[in-house]
């Protein structure tokens, strides 16, 4: 028996070496640990973002990187599970990588805010900064806000304000349909809250939560929407839950607007196609026609550089803004020390790709940024995902419009 045990132990140790004992690379780059799902059902998002970051890093590194070094992304697969993300965080801190970045899922985001905060409190000599580029839950920069988190994307509440401000004045009856989980519920909550504040003339004729990713047939929902007499369906649904809804509505001949939050997400335009014409709107951070509308040829050229090699669209301008601001903060701090960089990032003002002003607010570490409400139409210069339809801006919610109050009471580190 001992021999087989010895063999077993040997194999175990060898495997662990394979995993843990990867040589620490020479410190000639600034590493950013990137945690997102790269396998399993949600891999499409992580995959696309990785490509986008590749494109963005080319620019940021060509512009000089930070401290004369180039940025390098070290991806970790979290399978969209908080526990896996926390294991990845351990891996990142083991390798002394000072930044952890994550762009998909508020469940993972909440775990990372908490995990990073505890790690920094317990290991003051090896702190990390959490760069949130896609965990949208409003709480993360309100009740659950933390000094070590910086959010470079608009939270649900900001999007809700943009969404409601973009609703045409002739819309008087809306139907809310959202997915029954944290994100959908917070969209439902914030939409109702701001509808009451900004558009008291609008009547909410239906307010419903549907099981997330479980509904196979939306025609009953369509029948309900029709019976309610709504002019517009305001929904935070995305991917399958949105595509099937719109398909069912078109099949049914239901003539309402779909004022969505996330129809522009990758794969959405392809799946919806002509069904969305003249009825679909979305709240985007950027879309390829923004530079055309604002007459910014540089930005247009940059967006086209992506289109030349990909079937998808470049809409992740906040990612670019994030890395540019990070580079500046590192230069200002003169090091990659998490605390110094965090202090440099606070209240930093910058301009994004199309020249709009943005600012990292000190009180809650939320980036104040503009949003573009856009509708899905043929009448555009650049189509989305080669579908023949593209996004056309109807309304710009400016940075000032979206500067909302926060309840964040942040605990700041002593040193």
């Amino acid at each position: 028996m001992t021999s087989s045990i010895r063999r077993l132990c040997f194999a175990f140790v060898a495997l662990s070496m394979l995993v843990a004992g990867r040589p620490a690379g020479a410190e000639d780059t600034i590493k950013i640990g990137y945690v997102d799902p790269f396998s399993g059902p949600f891999a499409s998002g992580g995959d696309e973002f990785l490509k986008v970051f590749g494109y963005i890093l080319q620019k940021v590194n060509a512009d000089g990187g930070a401290l004369g070094k180039k940025f390098e992304l070290v991806p970790f697969d979290d399978k969209l599970q908080p526990a896996e993300a926390l294991i990845a965080l351990k891996n990142i801190t083991d390798q002394n990588i000072p930044f952890v970045m994550q762009c998909t899922g508020s469940n993972v985001g909440a775990a990372l805010v908490d995990g990073v905060s505890k790690h920094n409190a317990r290991n003051p000599d090896n702190r990390v900064l959490y760069l949130n580029c896609g965990a949208l839950a409003t709480e993360l920069t309100n009740e659950q806000c933390d000094f070590w988190q910086f959010r470079f994307t608009g939270n649900v509440e900001m999007r809700a304000v943009a969404r409601i401000k973009a609703l045409p004045m002739d819309v008087k009856k809306v139907y809310l349909l959202n997915q029954d989980y944290l994100f959908g519920q917070s969209i439902q909550h914030d939409t109702r809250k701001w509808l009451a504040k900004l558009r008291p003339d609008i009547e909410v004729v239906g307010d419903e939560l549907m099981p997330f990713g479980k509904v196979q047939d939306f025609s009953s929902y369509v029948a309900k929407i029709k019976a309610s007499g709504a002019q517009s369906v305001v929904t935070g649904n995305y991917n399958r839950d949105l595509n099937l809804l719109i398909k069912a509505a078109v099949d049914d001949g239901l003539n309402v607007r779909f004022d969505t939050y996330l129809a522009h997400l990758i794969g959405g335009p392809t799946a919806i196609g002509s069904a969305g014409e003249h009825r679909l709107t979305s709240i985007t951070e950027f879309h390829p026609n923004v530079p055309v509308e604002l007459k910014k040829p540089d930005a247009e050229a940059y967006s086209n550089g992506w289109r030349a090699n990909h079937d998808t669209d470049f809409s992740e301008v906040p990612f670019l803004t994030m890395l540019q601001m990070l580079a500046r903060a590192i230069d200002t701090a003169g090091s990659t020390d998490a605390l110094k960089v965090a202090l440099a990032l606070e209240d930093m003002k910058a301009t994004d790709l199309v020249g709009s002003p943005v600012q990292m607010r000190k009180v809650d570490h939320q980036l104040l940024m503009p949003y573009y409400a856009a509708s899905f139409t043929k009448d555009v210069k650049y189509d989305a995902e080669k579908t023949g339809f593209g996004w056309k801006t109807d309304f710009i919610a400016s940075t000032d419009d979206l500067t909302l109050p926060t309840v964040c009471k942040m605990k700041r580190p002593a040193s």
């Binding site: 045990i5 908080p82 351990k90 909440a110």
Partner: protein, 417 residues
């Protein structure tokens, strides 16, 4: 018999392992390794408790993660209560309370599910698992929705005055509980209940004839396995300080099944091997390749076809040969198997990586690095090498396997004589 040294030796290895990877440069432990070892600990408990159903009672359950998750949620709430000063329970006893919550839920669901067996039982558990996972997303008071419930494990209430700030202390806590739970589960297999569970698995009618109520046996076994799964969940909550619905969702139940089966359901220690292997694959190989699910799937299918008794079953099959001291004569045949197997493996990994790189990875602007060198996916050579090595390896392995089989048969026949 040297095997009585086996268990202390294994525990000693588990205690020493974190120190083997101590980072002297920074004077700290390798956090990733500690996390992985901790994960292994709780997965060992999960897999072993699952095997109480699958291996020992022949019950195919699809809701095992439910009890794991409920243990986790209970622990998080308890920890928060202790942290707020409402409840004086030391950290070291938390997993016990987690186990009791798992037990309570398992009694409730067990009363429903264990009236049936075989497929009806499996489908009831599938339904339970779906219901619980959806409920976890829907009801915020207990489950916290998608964001889960967070806690802080530094509750300053410990029997030994530990703070549990470092991963190492947590790892040793997990290790202690893993050893304890494993010991208890082993002890259970020796009790009349464990024996009767085997009997109802092997022959339902006979077990009834000798006067035991198989339903009661199934129910007890189910409830107790829920108890141990709950302990695992408690350790999960302590390690990650957050519990989300993933801890009771279907993928974890599937993982429990994979670990138990790959490790081997017929031997008590089998699921331990399975848990270690799957955790390595999940946390380790997924760092190297995004196609790790394919490898798990293929490995799983290969095990089902060629080694239904699992890893432990294979090791156990060597028992008689080892006793007769003939293990040495198997070394050469094994070595002859190694080369074609490596060829097969190389070809397979090559093709999977090349293919997935072509459709998914290429556009990410990364370079494919296979076996230590960069590879050009659009050249014919890597494809030819991979396919060739796959096919040749497979054919060669077939021949060698036939030869090995002959030697094996002869040897076992001799040993038996």
């Amino acid at each position: 018999m040297k095997s009585r040294w086996l268990i202390p030796a294994l525990i000693a290895v588990a205690i020493a392992l974190p120190w083997c990877f101590y980072d002297w440069g920074h004077h700290r432990h390798a956090g990733f390794l500690l996390s992985m070892l901790s994960q292994m600990g709780m997965m060992v408990i999960l897999a072993l408790s699952y095997n109480m159903l699958l291996g020992q009672a022949g019950l195919f359950s699809l809701c095992h993660a439910t009890f794991f998750g409920i243990g986790g949620y209970a622990t998080v709430h308890l920890l928060n209560a202790v942290g707020a000063g409402d409840l004086p329970v030391p950290m070291e006893l938390m997993p016990l309370l987690a186990g009791l919550s798992g037990l309570a839920l398992a009694i409730l669901f067990g009363a429903m599910a264990t009236k049936q067996r075989a497929t009806a039982f499996a489908m009831i558990t599938l339904g339970i698992s779906e219901l619980m996972a959806t409920a976890a997303l829907m009801f915020h008071h207990f489950f916290g929705g998608e964001g889960g419930v967070t806690t802080n494990r530094m509750i300053e209430n410990s029997l030994f005055g530990l703070t549990y700030a470092s991963g190492l202390q947590v790892y040793y806590l997990i290790l202690a509980w893993t050893v304890l739970a494993t010991g208890l589960m082993y002890y259970l297999t020796l009790t009349p209940l464990g024996r009767m569970a085997n009997a109802t698995r092997d022959n339902f009618e006979r077990a009834q004839f000798i006067g035991y109520d198989p339903r009661m046996v199934r129910f007890l076994q189910f409830a107790l396995s829920g108890f141990f799964a709950g302990i695992g969940g408690g350790l999960y909550a302590i390690t990650y300080e957050i519990v989300t619905f993933d801890a009771l969702a279907a993928p974890l139940s599937a993982n429990a099944l994979l670990m138990a089966y790959i490790g081997g359901t017929t031997v008590f220690g089998g699921p331990i091997l399975g848990a270690i292997l799957i955790t390595l694959l999940q946390s380790g190989v997924s760092l190297l390749s995004n196609s790790w699910l394919v490898y798990v799937g293929v490995m799983f299918i290969a095990m089902v076809i060629f080694a239904p008794t699992g890893l432990a079953g294979i090791i156990k099959a060597h028992g008689p040969i080892r006793h007769s001291g003939r293990l040495g004569s198997l070394v050469v045949p094994y070595l002859r198997l190694v080369i074609p197997s490596l060829g097969l493996l190389l070809g397979f990994v090559g093709i999977v990586e090349l293919m997935s790189f072509l459709t998914i990875g290429a556009a990410q602007g990364r370079k494919l690095v296979l076996f230590g060198g960069p590879v050009d996916v659009h050249a014919a050579l890597p494809w030819v090498i991979s396919c060739g090595s796959l096919i040749l390896g497979a054919l060669w392995l077939r021949i060698e396997a036939a030869g090995f089989h002959r030697i094996w048969e002869n040897l076992t026949a001799e040993v038996r004589r």
